[in-house]
Symmetry: C2
Subunit: 643 residues, 2 copies
């Protein structure tokens, strides 16, 4: 039989050769690290024989599916250890998750606490060292039902109910057997590093009228070093948690009388917002955008026109009923912008028209979903809508993309991926606007721009918006935490629904295409991201206080005030620590507040008209004249935003 | 008897001397122009005798009460003319109003149209020339009832029902007699200039289930010149109407699907908003304010704490009910700011804390009350709350006042009055917070600042806010139209209700005083005012487009684009008129759009690297190099905001 590899190489093997043997035929090194194989698109155990011509890709720890298989096998390993300590334990499901795996188990009255973790981990390690193979067995459904009926296992019987005959597979490693569709890694010996993370309650099938099961989370790695790094990253992420830093640095607050998910931005946070808006304003102005301002509410009729009502009603705040009308808080700015475009009587000479606004939208998120600044109910969006002709589309889209890239440079975002969601031809007119030609044409234009500019991207079929292809932007913070921060959408539908038109060069009315874009996402999520990305050590231009002036004693308050005035005149944000404290304490507190520069001023400095500069986390930075310090800082601020 | 005049002069007269004779005794000039007299505080006919010692002030056209009396007498004159043309007409009420007077009349099936105005005006003039005296007559109520019963006049009989016996007075001039409490001017001869303005329907007693009467508006003056000026001012005001200019200059729009009273700011209007916010940001930063951002909604509980609910509920949008809570759109920013102050753990060293925000508030105004940008439902307020100690109050208040004055200079507002509303001692604990000492102390501090700084102000007793004295700022536009644009309030109550505290120097917790201030009012009203004040000819720094580049032909588009880029780099807002039109047409359109500078570019300019400058409404301003033009404009922009 012919086996085709990802590099298009083709080799011949005897039918019935296993995946692992094929891997060995390539190299022993590969065979040692391979976890599973993708055979004609399906992820399978390496031990399964391949019977006829096939395309094969070997999956390792570096592949998402390889990792998932590893963690799923680890869940089985944990189950084996649990059966050892809790005989009679019953198992529901044990899937891999974003970072590890869990198993929902019925301990039949017993409990697990964090203190039990080490003994379970030790047992898992012991079982792992046995290098027990994960053995697959197929059986008829009735046999499987008989097996679990004998074990009196209502959970697996419930799972079996949903399965068709002929598809039932079991996996056994060591003394543990589970109903499981697989796939699994070859043997437990690959699991070298093991850590149980957390234990929690979880209602069976997520229904709170059902019994509560115990959900035990764990994470495993093929090397101890990977686990050590992961735990260090978690510790760093804990320190960088934007909720904690938000409190420590007084960036924002929540209040019960205002409501959940509605951040109030304190002065320090408002500085960051103002700086981001200034950056957006300048960037957008240079790119030919104009700004608008629109109300935060509109009548029901507007959202019926847009189609948000009734379909999106669950994500909106409930209406206010007044004068026989229903008013809604806006959940998006587009309809308001469409109204303005509609009022502009644009001709082809005026296009593209790019309307920008930091509009605050309100969306209903379940209380349980709210999370710091990441999931909120009020969203200040760096929104804009570009109205253009089909001919202008590619150029506009490219310009939007360039804007994203520029922002990534400014914010030192090195790792990002654009997730490009396209339509599915068989759902035209149902899930997607029925204009096959326009879909293909636009998607091609988007794809070309992404490919030409070399931007990392993945294309995902059948996940576009109803009205056009979309791009979600995923970025990774300095410590590798992933965030989805921005979107960019093409829209063929809304302009038509709103009756938007422009006069073309033939003096006919035509409907423009609309691009929705929000490169900085929302202030809420973006500042949450930046806080974690920078660990609160905001770059100079974003820092709430850029300079802390620390007089050595009361006698130098006047000099401190003079410096403060000079800095203020140069648009540099400073504060004076006038407390009756030792200079060491003042420095320590300024460091805790992560103020980029500290100026220590005493007798010598006052006499010479200088400042003793300390840089945050760097220490002493020498003595400079005030003028030189100011010009240095202005240059540093300038450099950071002019990437 | 002794008569005391406003200048404290006292003269003796025989009891029974009329006001007119007293005026004559002072000067014939005064007697010719005096309209009524204020005798011991009561405005009275000049013909009425004064019987005992009294303080007298003579009222002329320059006094509000003199003017009102003149217009009320004019209403009677109009009634006389109406009775001539419409025998049997019945009269309801005919009061003076802000600019003139009206009379509500029952024409008994007949109608009046604008075409009838001139004949009525002519008749009024004829009757005026007769110099008929307004003769006052008192009679018992029963006699009055009999009189109007005989005339079958249900309107006056209805009026009589509300009057007490012994108070009934009639006035007669020429052939017209009316039930009227007066006072009136001496005779019709003083009315020299007459203009009927408008005719409208008006339900009897304002109740739409009653009969509709005809309301006829007029205005009169003691000199023809005054009327001419007034009509010219009206014509100018019509041209300056911000609703008309808002359309012509594409500043803002309304939309039925968004809702009444909710302006959408188009790109040109958004520029003005952005410039105003920039000015406020800089001004407030220099004055030690910090900025915050707060959501547009809050729970009912917050507005119960503030006391806005239930008392202010009618002025708020109705609630949104969600998760068993009621959320309200904010009608003011104070409660959100109080929450932030409450979160700041302030010590006396941190005070004053000045929290500023251009927060958008929503207030319910009756549909019928909505008027362009002047009465709206969404309000972007230049808001700030200053939290300070009692000792700091006077200084803070003075600084706020200085900020108002600076803004007046920047916006060329020459005429303004601060209307200072104080409490009333007998309403402490009812209409006003019960702290007599603090009221007196604060009012004195406010008064002292107003007096010392020489600011024009009037003091009005018993019109303070519940929680402290307030100042409303009235300004007059360039053509003398009055606007109330800003407020400044002292607040002793809210900080206590919100439990706000700071740690004083004795380490005890103390409640701060709060100053609410909004020197630029709302964007809506302030930009409405500025539009009329400048007649849309915004000063350079505020102009939506500062420069219009007019290439003589297509060939110079590239040069135009280069200039556009250079202007943009210097933060100067320009646009290029690329239409295939003659240069004359381009100039005319730029003039209509009131763009401050036009740059005409053709062959010569391109070769020499120059621009031919035209200034709006000034014409040719010579040829300059691009660099010089840019530096001139930057200097002009700088000058205008640095007053």
């Amino acid at each position: 039989m012919k086996i085709t590899f990802p590099d298009k190489n083709v080799r011949e093997y005897a039918p019935g050769t296993t995946g692992l043997d094929i891997a060995k035929s390539i190299s022993e090194g590969l065979a040692r690290k391979v976890l599973a194989a993708r055979v004609n698109g399906e992820v399978r155990d390496l031990a399964r024989p391949v019977d006829s011509d096939a395309a094969i890709e070997f999956l390792t720890w570096d592949d998402t599916d390889g990792k998932s298989t590893f963690w799923h096998s680890s869940a089985h390993l944990m189950a084996e250890a649990l059966e050892h300590f809790y005989p009679g334990v019953k198992f529901w499901v044990g899937p891999p998750v974003e970072n590890g795996f869990y198993y929902d188990v019925d301990l039949r009255g017993k409990t697990i606490s964090n203190e039990d973790f080490s003994k379970i981990e030790a047992k898992m390690k012991e079982l792992a060292k046995q290098k027990n193979a994960y053995v697959r067995k197929e059986m008829p459904k009735e046999e499987a039902v008989r097996y679990f009926s004998d074990k009196d296992d209502e959970y697996k019987l419930d799972l079996l109910e949903g399965l068709e005959d002929g598809q039932i597979t079991f996996y056994t490693q060591g003394n543990f057997t589970d109903l499981c569709k697989g796939p699994h890694i070859p043997n437990t010996g690959l699991i070298k590093a093991i850590k149980l993370m957390n234990v929690a309650g979880a209602y069976w099938k997520g229904d709170d009228s059902n019994k509560q099961l115990t959900r035990l989370y764990g994470v495993t790695f093929p090397k101890q070093k990977d686990l050590d790094e992961y735990l260090a990253m978690l510790e760093e992420a804990r320190k960088r948690d934007h909720r904690k830093l938000g409190r420590d640095l007084s960036l924002f607050m929540f209040d019960d009388d205002v409501g959940p998910g509605l951040p109030l931005w304190m002065p320090n946070g408002a500085v960051i917002i103002d700086e981001l808006e200034k950056l957006a304003r300048q960037t957008e102005r240079d790119a030919g955008y104009v700004r608008v301002r629109t109300p935060h509410i509109a009548k029901e009729s507007m959202y019926k026109t847009s189609g948000h009502l009734p379909y999106y009603a669950d994500s909106m705040y409930p209406p206010m009923e007044m004068e026989g009308e229903r008013y809604y808080l806006k959940a998006m700015n587009c309809p308001h912008h469409h109204k303005i475009f509609g009022h502009m009587n644009a001709s082809y000479r005026d296009l593209p028209i790019r309307l920008a606004e930091y509009g605050t939208c309100y969306r209903y998120e379940q209380s349980g979903e709210l999370f710091g600044l990441m999931r909120v109910r009020s969203l200040q969006m760096n929104d804009a809508h570009i109205y253009c002709t089909e001919e202008q589309f590619a150029e506009e889209f490219r310009a939007v993309n360039d804007m994203y890239l520029r922002y990534f440079r400014i914010f030192n975002i090195d790792k990002y991926v654009m997730r490009f969601s396209t339509h599915s031809a068989d759902k035209l007119g149902k899930k997607y606007v029925d204009n096959a030609e326009l879909w293909l044409k636009t998607e091609k234009m988007v794809r070309d721009v992404l490919v030409e500019s070399g931007i990392p991207h993945v294309e995902v079929a059948d996940e576009a918006a109803f009205y056009g292809p979309k791009i979600d932007v995923q970025v990774w913070s300095a410590i590798g935490k992933e965030f989805t921060i921005a979107t960019n959408q093409v829209d063929f539908a809304q302009p038509g629904r709103f009756g938007l038109e422009y006069r073309n060069s033939k003096n006919e009315m035509e409907t423009p295409i609309c691009i929705h874009r929000a490169p900085l996402g929302t202030h809420e999520r973006f500042i949450g991201f930046l806080t974690e990305h920078y660990a609160g050590n905001f770059p100079l231009w974003l820092a709430p206080h850029q300079v802390s002036i620390l007089p050595i004693s009361d006698r130098f308050n006047a000099y401190a005030l003079r410096i403060h005035g000079l800095l203020n005149n140069s648009d540099i944000r400073s504060l004076i620590d006038r407390r009756d404290e030792k200079i060491g304490r003042k420095i320590r507190d300024a460091e805790l507040q992560k103020v980029p520069y500290m100026l220590i001023v005493g007798e010598k400095e006052e006499q010479e008209g200088t400042v003793s500069v300390r840089q945050h986390r760097q220490g002493d930075a020498g003595t400079r004249t005030i003028d030189l310090f100011i010009s240095d800082l202005k240059a540093e601020i300038q450099r950071q935003t002019s990437v």
